[in-house]
């Protein structure tokens, strides 16, 4: 299979996940809606970057989307009561991510695809995912394969830990990148994101629905 076909299959999986999220949006309970918005952002950014490769739009999106992803995950964590016992954690995390991004993008002017800020935000997302997962492990151990929070947090941990590791490798190796390295990174990212989308897709299907009431 050529890289183009692989990429199209991967985009198809992403699109299917985003459409499923759209379909379930109205029926989903309020606290699960930020998760659906997060999935739209992921797929939306991917699609836009596909059509505007090597343009200013792609560079701008590339520099903004991981900030948006991190903020959305923090919002999701807040909606899932992760900060109930530590209410200060929410503004601290938002402030930390914003400060990192501002320092790197606006102060040092680093607009490269590879950055330490991206690694830090990936780690923050992964750690929040761990926190979400450890809660579900104790509260609903019997039905983990059908637990939206567990599946979503698994996807976050899997995706962002590996993404952070890949970013580190590239950051170190990018001083002398070869074509095979770039192709290898492409396959790795596509496979990683495809598995993540599948996990997101399953988590969407398991979202508890709003209770419906009828007078009849």
């Amino acid at each position: 299979m050529t890289p183009l076909i692989i990429y199209l299959v991967y985009l198809g999986i992403g699109l299917m996940t985003a459409l499923t999220a759209l379909h379930f949006y109205r029926r989903a309970l309020q606290e699960y809606r930020p998760m659906l918005i997060f999935i739209w952002v992921l797929v939306g950014v991917e699609l836009i970057q596909t059509f505007f490769t090597n343009t200013v739009v792609a560079t701008a999106l590339d520099n903004i989307h991981y900030l948006a992803e991190a903020l959305l995950v923090i919002w999701i964590a807040k909606r899932w009561n992760l900060f109930n016992k530590r209410p200060l954690m929410f503004p601290v995390l938002v402030g930390f991510i914003l400060a990192c991004w501002t320092v790197e993008k606006l102060v040092t002017g680093n607009l490269d695809q590879l950055s330490w800020c991206r690694i830090i935000s990936s780690l923050v997302i992964a750690l929040l995912g761990i926190e979400m997962m450890s809660r579900t492990l104790l509260s609903a151990p019997a039905s983990l394969s059908r637990n939206t929070i567990y599946l979503f947090s698994m996807a976050l941990i899997f995706s962002y830990v590996l993404a952070a590791l890949a970013e580190i490798y590239l950051l170190i190796l990018s001083r002398e990148p070869s074509e095979s390295l770039i192709l290898g990174y492409f396959y790795f990212t596509v496979a990683l994101n495809a598995i993540t989308y599948i996990l997101f897709f399953k988590s969407i299907l398991c979202i508890p629905r709003k209770a419906t009431y009828s007078l009849s």
Partner: protein, 251 residues
């Protein structure tokens, strides 16, 4: 100058740091969650015990205060009936006997749920009533040294009484003991109850994780009334409990 070796070294170090952060945070997070989970479980057990005791007290009071007077009134009315035949006299006598039996059973049930002597002399008096009325013949020899500690109040006395019941139950069912000593003493403003049996004993886990439901209930009830329970046991060496609590925690 960056060589291939230094690149590999940097990658290894960075990967290890990331993996260590993730695994470390996972362990920390699980530990925190588990602690919270245990706390919730304790609260749940505590609420269950409180609800159970409230229910028992309500049933005991209803049996004693509502059903009892109705039975007395019925008996009184039956006494007013003048039978006009020998058969009628016989049936009336039987009905009165049945009412007496039901009345006796009601008192027994009510007292079994919440012994009356608890409010008179505290948990050890309650235990005395329980042993004398409901545990005859006893499957083991019990020596009880009761001390009046009315100042504990009914609620705390009731929890202590249930703890002593649990100890008695364990001595009979699990320890297979033939002798049990329960001794209470007042030391200053504290009540100390010592119990010891000559049963088979067991491996006591001071962390509480490996202990059975009965021992966990003992600890929960002790926590509810501000008591400290010390347990000493070993296989073949019997079991000893020491329960210590202030008589007036408000002072």
């Amino acid at each position: 100058m960056y060589t291939e070796e230094s690149n590999i070294f940097f990658i290894l170090i960075a990967s290890l740091i990331v993996v260590a952060i993730v695994i470390g945070y996972f362990q920390y997070s699980m530990k925190v969650q588990y602690r919270g989970y245990l706390r919730l479980q304790r609260l749940h057990e505590r609420a269950k015990i409180e609800a159970q005791e409230a229910e028992r007290q309500t049933i005991a009071a209803d049996l004693h205060d509502e059903v009892g007077p109705i039975l007395s009134a019925t008996n009184f009315k039956l006494c007013e009936v003048v039978p006009d035949s020998e058969r009628g006299r016989q049936l009336l006598g039987e009905a009165q006997d049945h009412i007496k039996q039901v009345f006796h059973q009601l008192k027994r049930m009510s007292s079994l749920l919440v012994p009356r002597s608890l409010s008179i002399g505290g948990p050890l008096y309650g235990m005395d009533e329980f042993l004398n009325q409901y545990m005859r013949p006893l499957p083991l020899e019990v020596e009880l040294k009761a001390v009046n500690c009315k100042e504990l109040g009914v609620e705390r006395s009731l929890h202590l009484f249930r703890m002593l019941q649990e100890i008695l139950h364990n001595a009979i069912r699990h320890s297979k003991a033939t002798q049990l000593l329960i001794a209470g003493e007042k030391v200053g403003d504290r009540l100390i109850i010592h119990t010891s049996d000559n049963g088979v004993g067991f491996n006591y886990d001071p962390t509480g994780k490996q202990n059975g439901h009965g021992l966990q209930n003992l600890a929960i009830r002790a926590g509810m009334i501000g008591a400290e329970v010390t347990t000493e046991s070993a296989p073949g060496a019997g079991t000893k409990y020491k329960i210590e609590l202030p008589l007036n925690p408000g002072k």
